[in-house]
Structures are given as structure tokens and as C-alpha cells.
Subunit: 145 residues, 3 copies
Amino acid sequence: MKIISTFIELETGAGVSLHDIMPQLQSAIANSGINNGFVTVTSQHTTTAISINENEERLIEDVKTFLMKLVPPADKYLHNDIELRDCPPDEPENAHSHLAAMLLGSSEAIALAEGELVLGQYQSVMLFELDGPRKRRISVQVYGE
Amino acid sequence: MKIISTFIELETGAGVSLHDIMPQLQSAIANSGINNGFVTVTSQHTTTAISINENEERLIEDVKTFLMKLVPPADKYLHNDIELRDCPPDEPENAHSHLAAMLLGSSEAIALAEGELVLGQYQSVMLFELDGPRKRRISVQVYGE
Amino acid sequence: MKIISTFIELETGAGVSLHDIMPQLQSAIANSGINNGFVTVTSQHTTTAISINENEERLIEDVKTFLMKLVPPADKYLHNDIELRDCPPDEPENAHSHLAAMLLGSSEAIALAEGELVLGQYQSVMLFELDGPRKRRISVQVYGE
């Protein structure tokens, strides 16, 4: 089994933003020379998520609205009492971003067959930025032959 | 490493329905001839999910009730303004199904040892249909020796 | 490809509790002798979850508060009518724990490079106990070379 390890780096949008990373994934797979096997995709951050869904602009707006309602940023969270924690005073107040990240999940493992991710017509692997804008890194490791 | 790729196809129930796919998975594993390794299970759709939990009939009803409350189908979603999107006029109004799918997740990667998925006594891999009834496809790829 | 299969066992806290399992994972990886490949981590229970996030004590308290609000234990659930089910009379009333487990997810597949999990600085793999205290088992399988 061949293993090729790489990273995707991207600059994300403000607050919540969704980033379709299919072009970068396809390029990482093509560069790996691996045609059959699988790929692990793992965000390297605790206020982002990796999820597979449809890249449709109106749905993406619904995601933002829904997450704000599901985990309201203005609620009271202990993690946001920055002065009571052992951390720099300019830490962001982002407990809601961590909670959304846990629910959405940080990684995906996806089958690879004949050089293509085995996904349906409307499925895109997306990075969910939950506390942007930031520079983010995603581990992409390709395994197979 | 041997890699065997296959698909499970099934007809799902109306609205939200849960489908225990353990029999199909066990059959795919037996057919693969692979005893030790792992399995990736990935739904090929953006309004379904794959999750592992207990196949208990009263719990399944609780899941349906809970998801309807968590992501109410009758709420206002931009994705449901079909006439404003570049898509066929008979597209279903299913933003709530996409949102539930993102939270539940589209895939699982599960260890395989001595011909069996390494899961506990009450764990079943289930397809969550979130916008049925439909004909659905699930990628099952088995890796190992 | 070498495959090394093991289990982490731990005693969890009451109700909802989060357990950072990085030390046990790192020890399982070191014992495997595998440096490059990946690891599957799968809880063996239907009222626990595996998720990757920051092990920060105040955030962990926020998680407990948030889950109680998201899936209130005192709500009416059919699964909690123990006397109507075919199960022992001392079964716990834990429908809310199952629902939280589905949303959080039961497994992770994480890349391994040069003997280390490919994770960011603040990421810890954690077992989320959702119906403790109990004795729990987590499958850890390490694959690679």
C-alpha cells in the first residue's frame, strides 16, 4: 500500500463560511498517483468541521442561519470567560464554534476507485469554517495502489 | 492489501426512515473474502446519513420526532425557493433534510477483524433516509487481507 | 500493510462526561510499531460518541450544558417506556443519550505520519460518555507500515 500525505491550506471567510474543497482534493489525488484505495480528510482545527453535502449557494445560507440558531453565539458559555482561563487575553469568544464543530465532525474517510472519490453527483466535501476568517489546514492522506 | 468495492442499493421509506444495513454489510464482507482490515461505508446522497446506533423500534420513532423538532421542515429555508434556483421545477423542498444529513454525517470507517465488523452488541450501521421514499445507493469498500 | 487491533477500556463519569483518550491512543500506536498509515477509533456503545475537539475544562462544562438543552433528558421519549419493550426492567431511560450519540458520531479515522496522529495543536480525540458512569470499550485499530 502506498501512502501519500499532504495538506490543503486555505483562507476562510468571516464567521461561518463553507468552502468546497473538491478541486484541491482531486488535485491531491491526481498528484498521489494512487487510483484505488481511500482518502482521509481531517481538519487540523477545533472550530472547523469537514462534512459532505451539496454546494448550493442558497443551502449554504441556510446552514449559516441554522447553526446560529442551533448554537447561538450570544448565549452564555464558560469557555468565553477568557479572563478566567489560562490563555492569552485576545483569545476569541468562540464556544459556539467548538460546539458546532463537534456535532458536524472533523474528518471523513472516503473510498477511492479508478482515480475518483466514490461520491454521488451532488456530494462535495466541504470545510465548514465556524470562527473565521482564518488561515486553515486540512490533512489529506491518500492510501492505495 | 486487497480492495473490494461494491454498493448497497435499497428503497427507503417515506419522510424520515432508518434502515439497518448490517445484513447487506455482512454479506459484502463475506463476499470480499477479506477477514482483517476495515470497511468504508459512504452514502452517495446529500439527504441521507450513515450512523451507528441501536436498531430498537421505539428509539427509531424517537429519532423521527427529534429530527423534526431539531430541523423543522416547515421553517423558512432559502434552498426551498425552488423557482429562484437553477434546477428543475419539481425539485423537492428538502433543506431540512440536508441540514440533518450534515449533522449526522455521511460515512463511517469501521475496523474488520476475523471477518466481523468490530462493533458492540447493540450497534448497527444504519442508513438514515431524511427525504424519502427514494432509491438509494451506499458505497461499501472493504480493505485488507 | 500491517494491522494491529486493540481496545481502550475506561471507567467513565456520571451522566455526560468527556474523556481525553490521547494518552491511550499514543500508547496503542507506539506499541503497534507502525509509523505511517492511519488509525480507526470506534466506540463499542450506542450511548457514547467519539469526537475530536479541545480538552479545555470550561468548554467541557459548556458541552454538558449544551447537550442537556439540545436533547433534554426529561422530554418524552418512546424508548424510555421500558415496560413496553422486550428488555430487562432495569434498563436505563436513556433515549436522549442515544440521540446525542448519533449526532456526535461513533468513530473517527485519523491519518498517522511519523508515529504521530495528524492532528492540530488543540485537537484531542475524546470519548463522550452520554449515559455514565459505565465501563466502556473503544476499538483502536492501527494500519500501515
